[in-house]
């Protein structure tokens, strides 16, 4: 049972944003919670969700997706293409496919790099670096934004610290992803820490501003209005 108080619908700001947006992958995933069985998701699957979540917050994730596409691997290219299509068109079939494919991102990357390295170590190194650079710049931007956000609490403007905690969990996931890519690049590097998330907790984990449920609800409301042929109020 998930009780959403009716006042949330009046969050006009969220509804305005949603009215002009395509449903992102992370919102689609949050909608699955409660419909599907609870499960634990690994770093790979979480990573693609995180890219979608970051994109919603206006972080530029395109260089990461492009780097995946340029790994000279048909499956990684398909993951990148499906991600772009899902975020562009918001189709359920793309979301489903992306979820399926995203479970193997890092394994696929590892296999690809190992095979590539044996033939052309330099090219393999360059391809991994192409992925690492935008990931690191995402991490730095996220870090700066988090520090800035925590200052806002002292100005009396921040949402609940729990939202900051959720943000930190996502930051940790990004760090783990970077460490994993580093370990793929350099097999002698320290083994990366594992990261898992409970699907039941995703609604909290992706709530960075206290509005994740408002966003979800606004998309649901828009879809309902579309089905019923009702024009939405501004």
């Amino acid at each position: 049972m998930n009780f959403i108080p009716m006042w949330r619908i009046s969050c006009t700001e969220v509804r305005k944003i949603v009215s002009e947006a395509v449903k992102p992958y992370w919102v689609w995933m949050l909608e699955r919670v409660g419909i599907e069985w609870r499960r634990t998701i690994g770093l790979s699957e979480f990573f693609m969700l995180l890219l979608s979540r970051l994109s919603w917050e206006q972080y530029d994730v395109r260089p990461v997706v492009k780097a995946l596409a340029r790994m000279n691997d048909p499956e990684l290219a398909e993951i990148a293409e499906t991600f772009e299509a899902a975020e562009r068109d918001g189709r359920d079939s793309d979301f489903e496919r992306l979820r399926e494919l995203s479970r193997e991102v890092f394994q696929r990357l590892r296999d690809r790099c190992e095979a590539w390295r044996s033939r052309d170590a330099e090219a393999a190194e360059e391809a991994v670096l192409r992925l690492l650079r935008p990931l690191n710049s995402l991490r730095f931007r996220l870090r700066d934004d988090m520090l800035r956000r925590h200052i806002r609490y002292f100005e009396g403007a921040g949402p609940e610290p729990a939202n900051l905690g959720n943000w930190l969990i996502c930051y940790r996931a990004l760090e783990c992803a970077i460490d994993t890519v580093e370990a793929i690049r350099n097999p002698e590097a320290a083994a990366p820490e594992s990261f898992t998330a409970d699907t039941e907790a995703l609604r909290a984990v992706f709530d960075w501003n206290g509005d994740a449920e408002d966003v979800m609800y606004a998309f649901w409301h828009r879809e309902l209005a579309d089905i019923m042929g009702v024009e939405q109020e501004g």
Binding site: M1, N2, F3, P5, V33, G34, W37, R38, T40, R143, M146, L147, H150, I151, Y153, F154, E155, E160, P161, A162, L164, G165, N166, L168, I169, Y171, R172, E175, E188, A190, A191, E193, A197, D198, E200, A201, R203, A204, D207, E213
Partner: protein, 263 residues
Amino acid sequence: MLKKKRTMLRKPRKYIEPSFHAYVHERLARDPVWAWSRLDTEAMTSLLGLQFIAYLDRLEYAKYDVEPAIEAMERLVESIDAKSAELARDRSEWASVIRHLNRLNRRQLELMRLNDEKLFPELAHLALEMMNRIEMIDDALLHSGTDRTEIGMRYAEWLRILNRMADHLDCLALRHFCSAFKRGEIESLAAVCLGCNFLRAVAGAIEFRLTDAWMWDFARRYYDLGALIALGEQFDFDRFDDDTNELHPDVADLLYGGAEDRV
């Protein structure tokens, strides 16, 4: 050689093992029944009760003072005992019901103090039923027609302490955010941030079981015990020290910047 070295260097764990919180975490992870979105409000409060006792255990290992919360529970149990004795003197049929339920409360507190690995299953069972007992005792007291002022005050005191703990964790998380973040204690910091709302949710759940009122929307989200207890094996709250941890310059400016001018 490198592989051998890697296996020899054990990664620090996120929580203490063996411990009650580790036991509960593993049990919840194993048990697919506990899908939050499929629970009714009663079951949600029960789960929060179990997680709360596990969380107190984790905080205690991290040198956080949980005594006020445990003592408030003990005072509540004593008040209920006194009331059941009073009802027994008046030959009320509710006296034995209340005494029996409260005996389980006392046993739970005893097990929390003992912290014996062999008794974790019993403690987990009692903690899971804690919210049900709270409601049943309250109902029995209501039906007995006795004066509940003192017990009401004990409940209020317990809730006040939980909310105060939440406020304190809020304050610690924000004040030491910058230093902990720079030290790379990301998961510990996240756990402290999440703990604030978790404690408020527990207080909200107790309030709901007593009054049916939704003062805090405890059902809104699932609190992942794994994230709550992931403070780190080496972590303790002594690290959140005002004398050694530097505030972010902007925060220091906001908090103390204008103080000299005002003086």
